[in-house]
Amino acid sequence: MTTAEARRPTLAVWKFASCDGCQLTLLNCEDELLELAGQVDIAYFPEATRAVVEGPYDLSLVEGSVTTAGDAARIQQVRASSRRLVTIGACATAGGIQALRNFADVSEFRAVVYARPEYVETLATSTPISAHVPVDFELRGCPIDRAQLLEVIAAFVQRRRPRVTAESVCVECKRRGNVCVTVARGTPCLGPVTHAGCGALCPSYDRGCYGCFGPADTTNTGSLSGRLVELGMPERDVHRVFRTFNAAAPAFAEESERHPSAAGGSP
């Protein structure tokens, strides 16, 4: 092994608008964290350490969405200092729950929350990282899955593509041997259109999937909505189930537009 290959790759973790849950997932790898720190040089991770190693970085993990002019400029700097850039979670990949503003008037939102809206700087939309810079890989989930995160880091250290499936939650559910909550009990479930990765968690807890990993690569959301309505779900609630943590992901955004919200304003 040459000296260059022996150098540990550097890892940076960046935060944009988010809840910190996806970067916490890295700290939640309790069994692997110290070994990981031996394999990669954790060069920039302010939530974990004050120490900062200057870039460029071999791998940047980006959490959060872009919601301010300052962050729109900052992501360009992050990209420029990163050999590989991977987005972690629904905010960085689809705009997150804060993208609900994209369907509303952000100045009205600002006035509702803040007594002095003029103190608060924000953009009208919350956008995914890919809307601003090229992204090498997008990891889904609100929050991301711990095992998938470790696989993505391992893959980039080993210079291969991550083995992360793009199938639907339904496939994971079958593999887990769950009885289908929709077929057996009529429970509304977004599993047929939702990206795998959680291991079919909700159906394993007697709950229908609520779409926190966002749309699978190929979806038939219209067919699923028809089934939800048959199960007795009001149009208003069909609108709501597609308007959560991945509301601005195109497949979910388009489907929500087809069903009127109760307010009667924006569909």
Partner: protein, 439 residues
């Protein structure tokens, strides 16, 4: 960096405050050797939760508000459930309340351990972070990771996963864990209790500056146990009020330098929530093992030094482990196995209030519902916005006594003083680079 004399310009900056949850900055202004102003600037971008909750269904706030914070999602879920159930006039049976407390114990263990070992202990032991600390203190860091993992395992069993648990709903849970699943976790929690006691011993051996503060404390309190998932308000000046009176007692202000709103008691001004307040106002409610550990650590019945918060936090990890074990034992002895995991919460028009003790302090939520359950208005008051004014006040005194230090050391010590409050900036975007302007 050299120290400059009085009257010269001095600027001290930590662009991004490290080892806190979220993004913030601090600015200190010094005039003629006197600290005249301290501002915590929360630049974490706002996400407008209170605005986007309007128009949602009354069953949605637990899932939606959990996304405010990846470190304390259970606190958001629990306060939201309480507020909605209050608005709908529904009381929750004892077994569901007990399971909520068990889930919340998992979050206390996970969040407090994260803070004690990964965020705060490196300050006391002199390292930039826990990973660097592990080189010299592998046993310490491994114990911390093991303890945090036990908390996460409890959250994963009861909640489905550690970040944004899926098993919580308005009215209770989608399913209860089985007695066998709970029993299987028991040995691990017994080990966690031992690790928590070792944590108290470790933290009580750290060096603390003399820094007693006369803060007004606010906490929940119950008539039987240490406040976690329920209670009504008490203050250190002797007031008591119900959760529904929170708005009568507390005013939120919006200041120019921060995306967090500052909360103040209408009659007493700034106040503090969190471990020091809870401990001081509920010392008589500590379970036996935690009480012994606190005594052995030399804490006394009250704690007014924010730097000792790491010891109190460690005692509260003991509380959470001890309570979790008790609940699991009660559960397997009790009649609760066949109980329904949730009660129906039919929508009705009304306003409801909910408050629970998040690891970093009391978290209040209020919802106004329409007759069909649609959320008309929502208010969320996270712990960090309640503590922000007191953190600023602490720093004013702290910096004043340490102006002789060079910039790098003063910045490091200020960050430590801020971490005393385990600020969660993601929650309070509604935290820190450090700037000292000496004019």
């Amino acid at each position: 960096m050299t120290h400059k004399g009085v009257g010269e310009g001095r600027e001290l900056t930590a662009e991004t405050l490290a080892r806190v949850e979220g993004e913030g900055a601090m600015r200190v202004v010094v005039h003629d050797g006197l600290v005249t102003d301290v501002q915590l600037r929360i630049y974490e971008p706002p996400r407008f939760f209170e605005a986007m909750l309007r128009g949602r269904g009354h069953t949605e706030p637990p899932d939606l508000t959990s996304r405010i914070c990846g470190i304390c999602p259970v606190a958001y879920e629990m306060s939201a459930c309480h507020a909605i159930e209050d608005a709908c006039g529904v009381d929750i049976p004892e077994d569901i309340a007990l399971m909520r407390r068990l889930l919340y114990c998992g979050e206390w263990i996970e969040s407090h351990t994260l803070h004690v070992y990964l965020l705060h202990a490196p300050d006391f032991l002199g390292y930039p972070g826990a990973i660097e600390m592990a080189t010299d203190h592998p046993d310490v860091v491994e114990r911390g990771l093991r303890l945090k993992q036990a908390g996460n395992a409890l959250m994963t069993l009861v909640g489905g996963r550690a970040v944004h648990p899926v098993n919580v709903k308005v009215g209770g849970f989608y399913r209860f864990p089985t007695r066998a699943e709970l029993g299987a976790l028991r040995p691990r929690l017994q080990g966690a209790l031992d690790d928590a006691l070792a944590t108290v011993t470790m933290a009580s051996g750290f060096e603390f500056p003399d820094f007693e503060q006369d803060h007004e404390y606010v906490s929940l309190r119950t008539d039987h146990d240490y406040p976690i998932e329920a209670g009504s308000f008490v203050t250190s000046s002797g007031h008591a009020f119900g959760v529904d009176a929170f708005g009568d007692w507390v005013a939120e202000e919006h200041v120019a330098h921060s995306n967090a709103l500052h909360a103040r008691l209408r009659d007493a001004g700034p106040y503090v929530v969190g471990p020091l307040a809870r401990y001081t106002l509920n010392h008589d409610r500590l379970p036996p093992t935690a009480r012994q550990a606190a005594d052995a650590a030399g804490l006394g019945a009250t704690c007014r030094n924010p730097f000792r918060s790491i010891v109190v936090r460690a005692v509260e990890i003991v509380v959470a482990c001890e309570e979790a074990l008790r609940i699991i034992d009660d559960w397997s002895d009790g009649p609760a196995t066949d109980a329904a995991p949730a009660v129906e919460v039919p929508a009705r028009a009304g306003t409801g209030h909910g408050a629970t003790e998040a690891p970093r302090g009391t978290l209040y939520q209020r919802y106004e519902l329409a007759a069909d359950g649609t959320v008309v208005s929502a208010q969320i008051v996270p712990p960090t916005s309640q503590n922000q004014a007191s953190i600023e006040s602490d720093l004013r005194g702290f910096v004043q006594a340490r102006l002789h230090l060079d910039t790098e050391e003063l910045t490091r010590q200020c960050e430590q003083a801020i971490r005393n409050y385990d600020p969660c900036i993601s929650c309070a975007t509604h935290f820190l680079d450090l700037t000292v302007d000496e004019a």
